[in-house]
Amino acid sequence: MKTKSLIFPVIVVVISFIALYFISQFPTPRFQDASVTSKFFPTAVAIIQIIICFFIILGELLNRKEISYQAAFFNKYSLFGAAFIISYVALIYVFGYFISTLAAFIVYLLFFKIKIIGYYITAILFTCAVYYIFANVFFVALPEGLIFGGVL
Protein backbone atom coordinates (compact mmCIF):
# COMPACT_ATOMS: atom_id res chain seq x y z
CA MET A 1 0.00 0.00 0.00
CA LYS A 2 2.80 2.32 0.94
CA THR A 3 4.43 2.16 -2.49
CA LYS A 4 1.19 3.27 -4.08
CA SER A 5 1.20 6.63 -2.32
CA LEU A 6 4.78 7.09 -3.47
CA ILE A 7 4.16 6.51 -7.16
CA PHE A 8 2.57 9.91 -7.76
CA PRO A 9 5.32 12.14 -6.32
CA VAL A 10 7.94 9.98 -8.04
CA ILE A 11 6.20 10.44 -11.38
CA VAL A 12 6.05 14.19 -10.82
CA VAL A 13 9.77 14.24 -10.02
CA VAL A 14 10.51 12.36 -13.24
CA ILE A 15 8.34 14.80 -15.22
CA SER A 16 10.10 17.73 -13.57
CA PHE A 17 13.48 16.42 -14.64
CA ILE A 18 12.23 15.90 -18.19
CA ALA A 19 10.93 19.48 -18.08
CA LEU A 20 14.34 20.70 -16.90
CA TYR A 21 15.93 18.94 -19.86
CA PHE A 22 13.56 20.66 -22.29
CA ILE A 23 14.12 24.02 -20.60
CA SER A 24 17.85 23.69 -21.27
CA GLN A 25 16.96 23.18 -24.93
CA PHE A 26 14.92 26.43 -25.25
CA PRO A 27 16.28 28.46 -28.16
CA THR A 28 18.06 31.72 -27.40
CA PRO A 29 15.77 34.71 -27.93
CA ARG A 30 16.26 36.93 -30.96
CA PHE A 31 14.92 39.93 -29.11
CA GLN A 32 15.93 41.54 -25.88
CA ASP A 33 15.20 39.73 -22.65
CA ALA A 34 15.23 40.78 -19.00
CA SER A 35 17.89 39.66 -16.54
CA VAL A 36 15.27 37.16 -15.43
CA THR A 37 15.15 35.22 -18.68
CA SER A 38 12.59 33.03 -20.36
CA LYS A 39 14.29 30.02 -18.80
CA PHE A 40 14.29 31.31 -15.23
CA PHE A 41 10.63 30.91 -14.29
CA PRO A 42 10.09 27.35 -15.58
CA THR A 43 13.42 26.26 -14.11
CA ALA A 44 12.52 27.68 -10.70
CA VAL A 45 9.07 26.07 -10.79
CA ALA A 46 10.48 22.67 -11.78
CA ILE A 47 13.07 22.77 -8.99
CA ILE A 48 10.51 23.85 -6.37
CA GLN A 49 8.28 21.05 -7.61
CA ILE A 50 11.05 18.51 -7.07
CA ILE A 51 11.63 19.86 -3.56
CA ILE A 52 7.92 19.65 -2.71
CA CYS A 53 7.81 16.06 -3.97
CA PHE A 54 10.84 15.28 -1.84
CA PHE A 55 8.94 16.52 1.22
CA ILE A 56 5.88 14.51 0.27
CA ILE A 57 7.95 11.34 -0.17
CA LEU A 58 9.73 12.00 3.11
CA GLY A 59 6.40 12.54 4.85
CA GLU A 60 5.04 9.28 3.50
CA LEU A 61 8.13 7.36 4.59
CA LEU A 62 8.20 8.85 8.07
CA ASN A 63 4.49 8.56 8.60
CA ARG A 64 4.20 5.05 9.94
CA LYS A 65 0.44 5.08 10.09
CA GLU A 66 -1.19 3.25 7.26
CA ILE A 67 -3.44 5.53 5.27
CA SER A 68 -6.06 3.38 3.68
CA TYR A 69 -6.19 4.21 0.03
CA GLN A 70 -9.07 2.99 -1.99
CA ALA A 71 -8.32 -0.38 -3.46
CA ALA A 72 -8.74 0.69 -7.08
CA PHE A 73 -8.63 4.04 -8.80
CA PHE A 74 -11.35 3.11 -11.22
CA ASN A 75 -14.43 1.04 -10.73
CA LYS A 76 -16.41 -0.38 -13.62
CA TYR A 77 -18.45 2.79 -14.06
CA SER A 78 -15.72 5.41 -13.91
CA LEU A 79 -13.65 3.27 -16.27
CA PHE A 80 -16.60 3.28 -18.63
CA GLY A 81 -16.87 7.05 -18.15
CA ALA A 82 -13.22 7.61 -19.05
CA ALA A 83 -13.49 5.42 -22.13
CA PHE A 84 -16.78 7.13 -22.97
CA ILE A 85 -15.21 10.61 -22.94
CA ILE A 86 -12.25 9.52 -25.05
CA SER A 87 -14.37 7.71 -27.63
CA TYR A 88 -16.88 10.55 -27.80
CA VAL A 89 -14.08 13.00 -28.62
CA ALA A 90 -12.72 10.63 -31.26
CA LEU A 91 -16.21 10.16 -32.71
CA ILE A 92 -16.80 13.93 -33.03
CA TYR A 93 -13.49 14.22 -34.78
CA VAL A 94 -14.61 11.75 -37.42
CA PHE A 95 -18.39 12.04 -37.63
CA GLY A 96 -19.06 15.53 -36.33
CA TYR A 97 -21.29 16.65 -33.51
CA PHE A 98 -24.72 15.39 -34.45
CA ILE A 99 -24.16 11.72 -35.17
CA SER A 100 -21.61 11.33 -32.38
CA THR A 101 -23.73 12.87 -29.66
CA LEU A 102 -26.81 10.90 -30.55
CA ALA A 103 -24.85 7.64 -30.83
CA ALA A 104 -22.89 8.25 -27.63
CA PHE A 105 -26.03 9.13 -25.66
CA ILE A 106 -27.80 5.96 -26.77
CA VAL A 107 -24.76 3.77 -26.10
CA TYR A 108 -24.59 5.33 -22.64
CA LEU A 109 -28.25 4.58 -21.90
CA LEU A 110 -27.85 1.03 -23.21
CA PHE A 111 -24.75 0.48 -21.06
CA PHE A 112 -26.73 1.33 -17.96
CA LYS A 113 -29.58 -0.87 -19.20
CA ILE A 114 -32.06 1.96 -19.01
CA LYS A 115 -35.55 0.85 -19.97
CA ILE A 116 -37.32 4.17 -19.62
CA ILE A 117 -38.36 5.33 -23.09
CA GLY A 118 -38.51 8.92 -21.88
CA TYR A 119 -34.74 8.93 -21.43
CA TYR A 120 -34.19 7.95 -25.05
CA ILE A 121 -36.57 10.65 -26.18
CA THR A 122 -34.65 13.11 -23.98
CA ALA A 123 -31.43 12.03 -25.70
CA ILE A 124 -32.86 12.78 -29.14
CA LEU A 125 -34.45 16.06 -28.06
CA PHE A 126 -31.26 17.18 -26.29
CA THR A 127 -29.07 16.46 -29.31
CA CYS A 128 -31.37 18.31 -31.68
CA ALA A 129 -32.00 21.22 -29.34
CA VAL A 130 -28.29 21.83 -28.73
CA TYR A 131 -27.59 21.60 -32.43
CA TYR A 132 -30.33 24.08 -33.24
CA ILE A 133 -29.47 26.54 -30.46
CA PHE A 134 -25.74 26.60 -31.22
CA ALA A 135 -26.25 27.01 -34.94
CA ASN A 136 -29.06 29.54 -34.87
CA VAL A 137 -28.78 31.40 -31.58
CA PHE A 138 -25.11 31.31 -30.63
CA PHE A 139 -23.89 31.15 -34.24
CA VAL A 140 -21.35 28.50 -33.38
CA ALA A 141 -20.72 26.04 -36.19
CA LEU A 142 -20.43 22.74 -34.33
CA PRO A 143 -17.81 20.30 -35.61
CA GLU A 144 -18.76 18.77 -38.92
CA GLY A 145 -16.42 15.85 -38.65
CA LEU A 146 -13.54 14.69 -40.78
CA ILE A 147 -15.74 12.92 -43.30
CA PHE A 148 -17.99 15.92 -43.94
CA GLY A 149 -15.80 18.95 -43.45
CA GLY A 150 -12.15 19.82 -43.68
CA VAL A 151 -9.25 19.54 -41.30
CA LEU A 152 -10.02 20.49 -37.73
Binding site: R30, F31, I99, F139, A141, I147, G149, G150
Partner: protein, 309 residues
Protein backbone atom coordinates in the same frame (compact mmCIF):
# COMPACT_ATOMS: atom_id res chain seq x y z
CA UNK B 1 -23.90 -0.23 -35.60
CA UNK B 2 -23.86 -1.39 -39.20
CA UNK B 3 -26.95 0.64 -39.82
CA UNK B 4 -25.30 3.73 -38.39
CA UNK B 5 -22.25 3.33 -40.62
CA UNK B 6 -24.43 2.75 -43.64
CA UNK B 7 -26.60 5.77 -43.05
CA UNK B 8 -23.52 7.81 -42.28
CA UNK B 9 -22.00 6.94 -45.61
CA UNK B 10 -25.19 7.89 -47.38
CA UNK B 11 -25.23 11.23 -45.58
CA UNK B 12 -21.55 11.68 -46.41
CA UNK B 13 -22.09 10.98 -50.09
CA UNK B 14 -24.99 13.40 -50.08
CA UNK B 15 -22.85 16.07 -48.49
CA UNK B 16 -20.23 15.55 -51.16
CA UNK B 17 -22.69 15.92 -53.97
CA UNK B 18 -24.19 19.13 -52.68
CA UNK B 19 -20.96 20.56 -51.36
CA UNK B 20 -18.36 21.50 -53.89
CA UNK B 21 -20.05 22.42 -57.14
CA UNK B 22 -19.23 25.93 -58.25
CA UNK B 23 -22.37 26.51 -60.31
CA UNK B 24 -24.86 26.87 -57.48
CA UNK B 25 -22.36 28.53 -55.13
CA UNK B 26 -23.19 29.61 -52.51
CA UNK B 27 -25.85 27.19 -51.36
CA UNK B 28 -25.13 26.97 -47.62
CA UNK B 29 -23.75 28.96 -44.71
CA UNK B 30 -20.21 30.30 -45.19
CA UNK B 31 -17.67 30.41 -42.35
CA UNK B 32 -15.41 33.41 -41.99
CA UNK B 33 -12.32 32.47 -39.96
CA UNK B 34 -11.02 35.36 -37.86
CA UNK B 35 -7.57 34.55 -36.44
CA UNK B 36 -7.94 36.95 -33.48
CA UNK B 37 -10.25 37.08 -30.48
CA UNK B 38 -13.62 38.81 -30.31
CA UNK B 39 -13.42 42.54 -29.71
CA UNK B 40 -10.18 43.25 -31.53
CA UNK B 41 -9.83 45.30 -34.70
CA UNK B 42 -9.53 42.25 -36.95
CA UNK B 43 -12.61 40.71 -35.39
CA UNK B 44 -14.78 43.79 -35.79
CA UNK B 45 -13.69 44.29 -39.41
CA UNK B 46 -14.42 40.60 -40.04
CA UNK B 47 -17.87 40.85 -38.46
CA UNK B 48 -18.66 44.02 -40.36
CA UNK B 49 -17.67 42.54 -43.71
CA UNK B 50 -19.57 39.33 -42.94
CA UNK B 51 -22.62 41.40 -42.06
CA UNK B 52 -22.43 43.42 -45.28
CA UNK B 53 -21.66 40.47 -47.56
CA UNK B 54 -24.31 38.02 -46.37
CA UNK B 55 -27.19 39.87 -48.01
CA UNK B 56 -25.26 40.17 -51.27
CA UNK B 57 -24.55 36.43 -51.41
CA UNK B 58 -27.92 35.46 -50.03
CA UNK B 59 -26.37 33.05 -47.53
CA UNK B 60 -25.52 33.56 -43.87
CA UNK B 61 -21.87 34.08 -42.93
CA UNK B 62 -20.81 32.84 -39.49
CA UNK B 63 -17.74 34.43 -37.93
CA UNK B 64 -15.50 31.77 -36.41
CA UNK B 65 -12.81 33.09 -34.07
CA UNK B 66 -9.80 30.81 -34.09
CA UNK B 67 -7.08 32.46 -32.02
CA UNK B 68 -3.53 31.57 -31.12
CA UNK B 69 0.08 32.27 -32.02
CA UNK B 70 -0.55 35.90 -33.08
CA UNK B 71 -2.89 34.73 -35.82
CA UNK B 72 -0.87 31.68 -36.92
CA UNK B 73 -3.38 29.11 -35.68
CA UNK B 74 -6.41 30.69 -37.34
CA UNK B 75 -4.73 31.36 -40.67
CA UNK B 76 -3.18 27.87 -40.83
CA UNK B 77 -6.60 26.47 -40.02
CA UNK B 78 -8.18 28.50 -42.81
CA UNK B 79 -5.53 27.39 -45.32
CA UNK B 80 -6.22 23.71 -44.58
CA UNK B 81 -9.97 23.76 -45.08
CA UNK B 82 -11.74 22.18 -48.01
CA UNK B 83 -11.30 24.50 -51.03
CA UNK B 84 -15.02 24.85 -51.74
CA UNK B 85 -15.47 28.51 -50.94
CA UNK B 86 -17.39 27.83 -47.74
CA UNK B 87 -14.46 28.76 -45.55
CA UNK B 88 -13.05 32.24 -46.04
CA UNK B 89 -10.21 33.52 -43.85
CA UNK B 90 -9.31 37.02 -42.75
CA UNK B 91 -5.59 37.26 -43.52
CA UNK B 92 -3.50 39.86 -41.71
CA UNK B 93 0.04 41.15 -42.02
CA UNK B 94 1.19 38.30 -39.75
CA UNK B 95 0.90 35.95 -42.73
CA UNK B 96 3.84 37.80 -44.24
CA UNK B 97 5.97 37.87 -41.08
CA UNK B 98 5.28 34.75 -38.99
CA UNK B 99 6.29 32.10 -41.58
CA UNK B 100 9.64 33.83 -42.01
CA UNK B 101 10.25 33.61 -38.28
CA UNK B 102 9.39 29.92 -38.22
CA UNK B 103 6.26 30.62 -36.19
CA UNK B 104 3.67 29.55 -38.74
CA UNK B 105 3.43 26.45 -40.88
CA UNK B 106 1.53 28.01 -43.79
CA UNK B 107 2.13 31.19 -45.75
CA UNK B 108 0.43 33.43 -48.30
CA UNK B 109 1.07 30.86 -51.06
CA UNK B 110 -1.31 28.48 -49.32
CA UNK B 111 -4.12 30.93 -50.02
CA UNK B 112 -5.83 32.32 -53.02
CA UNK B 113 -5.99 35.94 -51.90
CA UNK B 114 -9.28 37.58 -52.88
CA UNK B 115 -9.31 41.20 -51.76
CA UNK B 116 -7.40 43.57 -49.53
CA UNK B 117 -9.81 45.32 -47.16
CA UNK B 118 -7.91 47.96 -45.26
CA UNK B 119 -4.43 49.44 -45.07
CA UNK B 120 -3.63 51.64 -42.10
CA UNK B 121 -0.39 53.43 -41.31
CA UNK B 122 1.10 53.47 -37.82
CA UNK B 123 1.11 56.69 -35.84
CA UNK B 124 3.85 57.65 -33.35
CA UNK B 125 2.32 58.69 -30.02
CA UNK B 126 3.61 60.24 -26.82
CA UNK B 127 1.81 61.48 -23.72
CA UNK B 128 0.56 65.08 -23.70
CA UNK B 129 3.20 66.00 -21.09
CA UNK B 130 6.03 64.52 -23.13
CA UNK B 131 9.07 66.72 -23.93
CA UNK B 132 8.97 65.45 -27.53
CA UNK B 133 7.02 67.56 -30.01
CA UNK B 134 8.13 66.04 -33.29
CA UNK B 135 9.79 62.91 -34.55
CA UNK B 136 13.22 64.50 -34.82
CA UNK B 137 13.31 65.36 -31.12
CA UNK B 138 12.53 61.75 -30.34
CA UNK B 139 15.19 60.48 -32.73
CA UNK B 140 17.74 62.91 -31.27
CA UNK B 141 17.00 61.75 -27.73
CA UNK B 142 17.25 58.10 -28.79
CA UNK B 143 20.64 58.85 -30.36
CA UNK B 144 21.81 60.54 -27.16
CA UNK B 145 20.61 57.75 -24.84
CA UNK B 146 21.14 54.52 -26.71
CA UNK B 147 18.41 52.10 -25.64
CA UNK B 148 17.26 54.56 -22.98
CA UNK B 149 13.93 55.68 -24.44
CA UNK B 150 11.18 53.29 -23.35
CA UNK B 151 8.86 52.12 -26.12
CA UNK B 152 5.51 50.41 -25.41
CA UNK B 153 5.47 47.68 -28.03
CA UNK B 154 2.16 46.14 -29.12
CA UNK B 155 3.83 43.14 -30.72
CA UNK B 156 7.04 41.14 -30.49
CA UNK B 157 8.98 41.89 -32.66
CA UNK B 158 7.55 45.28 -33.52
CA UNK B 159 8.07 45.96 -37.22
CA UNK B 160 6.90 49.57 -37.00
CA UNK B 161 9.68 50.29 -34.52
CA UNK B 162 12.25 48.20 -36.38
CA UNK B 163 11.61 50.19 -39.55
CA UNK B 164 12.27 53.45 -37.69
CA UNK B 165 15.28 52.07 -35.83
CA UNK B 166 16.87 50.80 -39.03
CA UNK B 167 16.40 53.98 -40.99
CA UNK B 168 17.65 56.30 -38.22
CA UNK B 169 20.23 53.92 -36.79
CA UNK B 170 18.83 54.20 -33.26
CA UNK B 171 17.80 51.72 -30.58
CA UNK B 172 14.85 52.04 -28.21
CA UNK B 173 14.05 49.95 -25.13
CA UNK B 174 11.07 47.98 -26.45
CA UNK B 175 8.84 46.72 -23.64
CA UNK B 176 6.32 44.14 -24.87
CA UNK B 177 2.65 44.89 -24.10
CA UNK B 178 -0.40 42.85 -24.91
CA UNK B 179 -1.84 44.99 -27.69
CA UNK B 180 -2.76 48.65 -27.83
CA UNK B 181 -5.23 48.28 -24.93
CA UNK B 182 -2.25 47.86 -22.59
CA UNK B 183 0.33 49.92 -24.45
CA UNK B 184 -1.74 53.12 -24.49
CA UNK B 185 -2.39 53.23 -20.70
CA UNK B 186 1.31 52.61 -20.19
CA UNK B 187 2.14 55.76 -22.17
CA UNK B 188 -0.71 57.69 -20.53
CA UNK B 189 0.59 56.68 -17.09
CA UNK B 190 4.12 57.74 -17.99
CA UNK B 191 5.59 54.26 -17.59
CA UNK B 192 6.85 54.30 -21.18
CA UNK B 193 7.66 57.29 -23.37
CA UNK B 194 6.30 56.39 -26.78
CA UNK B 195 4.18 53.87 -28.67
CA UNK B 196 3.11 53.19 -32.25
CA UNK B 197 -0.41 52.02 -33.06
CA UNK B 198 -2.88 52.45 -35.92
CA UNK B 199 -5.06 55.60 -35.86
CA UNK B 200 -8.24 53.67 -35.04
CA UNK B 201 -6.70 52.33 -31.86
CA UNK B 202 -5.94 55.75 -30.43
CA UNK B 203 -8.25 58.20 -32.20
CA UNK B 204 -10.20 59.16 -29.08
CA UNK B 205 -7.08 59.73 -26.97
CA UNK B 206 -5.56 61.88 -29.74
CA UNK B 207 -8.77 63.87 -30.18
CA UNK B 208 -9.06 64.37 -26.41
CA UNK B 209 -5.50 65.64 -26.27
CA UNK B 210 -4.30 62.91 -23.89
CA UNK B 211 -1.84 61.67 -26.49
CA UNK B 212 0.30 63.74 -28.81
CA UNK B 213 0.87 62.41 -32.34
CA UNK B 214 4.46 63.03 -33.42
CA UNK B 215 3.84 61.84 -36.92
CA UNK B 216 2.07 59.39 -39.14
CA UNK B 217 4.06 56.67 -40.88
CA UNK B 218 2.48 56.97 -44.33
CA UNK B 219 3.35 58.57 -47.65
CA UNK B 220 0.59 61.16 -47.31
CA UNK B 221 -1.43 62.64 -44.47
CA UNK B 222 -4.61 60.75 -43.63
CA UNK B 223 -8.16 62.08 -43.48
CA UNK B 224 -8.76 61.14 -39.85
CA UNK B 225 -5.77 63.12 -38.57
CA UNK B 226 -5.33 65.96 -41.07
CA UNK B 227 -3.15 68.01 -38.71
CA UNK B 228 -0.65 65.25 -38.03
CA UNK B 229 2.35 65.49 -40.39
CA UNK B 230 3.89 62.40 -41.92
CA UNK B 231 7.37 61.33 -40.82
CA UNK B 232 8.49 61.93 -44.40
CA UNK B 233 7.49 65.61 -44.15
CA UNK B 234 9.74 65.80 -41.11
CA UNK B 235 12.67 64.35 -42.96
CA UNK B 236 12.40 60.80 -41.63
CA UNK B 237 11.62 58.62 -44.62
CA UNK B 238 9.84 55.67 -43.01
CA UNK B 239 6.39 54.45 -43.90
CA UNK B 240 4.84 51.35 -42.43
CA UNK B 241 1.50 50.10 -41.26
CA UNK B 242 -0.75 47.13 -41.18
CA UNK B 243 -3.30 45.58 -43.51
CA UNK B 244 -6.06 43.02 -43.63
CA UNK B 245 -7.59 41.07 -46.46
CA UNK B 246 -9.58 37.98 -47.34
CA UNK B 247 -8.45 34.66 -48.73
CA UNK B 248 -9.57 31.10 -49.46
CA UNK B 249 -7.58 27.83 -49.61
CA UNK B 250 -5.35 27.76 -52.70
CA UNK B 251 -7.21 25.07 -54.67
CA UNK B 252 -10.53 26.90 -54.62
CA UNK B 253 -12.07 27.08 -58.16
CA UNK B 254 -11.60 30.45 -59.84
CA UNK B 255 -15.32 30.84 -60.47
CA UNK B 256 -15.96 30.80 -56.72
CA UNK B 257 -13.11 33.23 -56.08
CA UNK B 258 -14.66 35.61 -58.59
CA UNK B 259 -18.13 35.29 -57.06
CA UNK B 260 -16.68 36.08 -53.64
CA UNK B 261 -14.53 38.90 -55.00
CA UNK B 262 -17.50 40.60 -56.64
CA UNK B 263 -19.52 40.22 -53.44
CA UNK B 264 -16.73 41.72 -51.32
CA UNK B 265 -16.40 44.65 -53.74
CA UNK B 266 -20.08 45.41 -53.26
CA UNK B 267 -19.84 44.92 -49.50
CA UNK B 268 -16.85 47.24 -49.18
CA UNK B 269 -18.73 49.90 -51.13
CA UNK B 270 -21.91 49.54 -49.08
CA UNK B 271 -22.79 52.63 -47.03
CA UNK B 272 -23.04 50.48 -43.93
CA UNK B 273 -19.46 49.21 -44.22
CA UNK B 274 -18.08 52.58 -45.26
CA UNK B 275 -19.66 54.18 -42.20
CA UNK B 276 -18.33 51.43 -39.96
CA UNK B 277 -14.77 51.91 -41.22
CA UNK B 278 -15.03 55.68 -40.96
CA UNK B 279 -16.27 55.46 -37.37
CA UNK B 280 -13.35 53.21 -36.53
CA UNK B 281 -10.84 55.49 -38.29
CA UNK B 282 -9.80 52.70 -40.63
CA UNK B 283 -9.03 53.25 -44.30
CA UNK B 284 -10.71 50.98 -46.84
CA UNK B 285 -8.09 49.95 -49.36
CA UNK B 286 -9.72 47.61 -51.85
CA UNK B 287 -7.10 45.78 -53.93
CA UNK B 288 -8.20 43.05 -56.34
CA UNK B 289 -6.84 39.52 -56.21
CA UNK B 290 -3.83 40.16 -58.43
CA UNK B 291 -2.77 43.46 -56.89
CA UNK B 292 -3.27 42.12 -53.36
CA UNK B 293 -1.17 39.03 -54.07
CA UNK B 294 1.65 41.20 -55.44
CA UNK B 295 1.36 43.55 -52.47
CA UNK B 296 1.69 40.66 -50.01
CA UNK B 297 4.70 39.28 -51.86
CA UNK B 298 6.40 42.69 -51.71
CA UNK B 299 5.56 43.17 -48.01
CA UNK B 300 6.93 39.69 -47.24
CA UNK B 301 10.18 40.73 -48.89
CA UNK B 302 10.33 43.96 -46.86
CA UNK B 303 9.62 42.14 -43.61
CA UNK B 304 12.10 39.42 -44.50
CA UNK B 305 14.80 42.07 -44.74
CA UNK B 306 13.95 43.29 -41.22
CA UNK B 307 13.71 39.79 -39.78
CA UNK B 308 16.94 38.46 -41.25
CA UNK B 309 19.09 41.50 -40.66
Amino acid sequence: MKKIIKSTLIVAAFAFMTGATAADYPSKTIRLVVPFSPGGGTDSVGRAIANSTKDILGENIIVMNRTGGSGAVGMSFGAQQRPDGYTVTVVTREIASLPQMGLMQHDADDFKLIRMVNLDPAVVLVSKDSPFNNINELVAEAKKRDGGVKFASTAKPNFYLMALENSQNIKLNAIPYNGSAEAIPSVLGGHTAVTMVTPGEALSQIKAGQLKALGIMSEERIAFLPNVPTLKEQGVDVSTGTWRGLGVPKNTPDAIVETLGAAFDKAMASPEFVKFMKNGAMTIHNLDAKAFTEFVAQDSKNLGALINQ
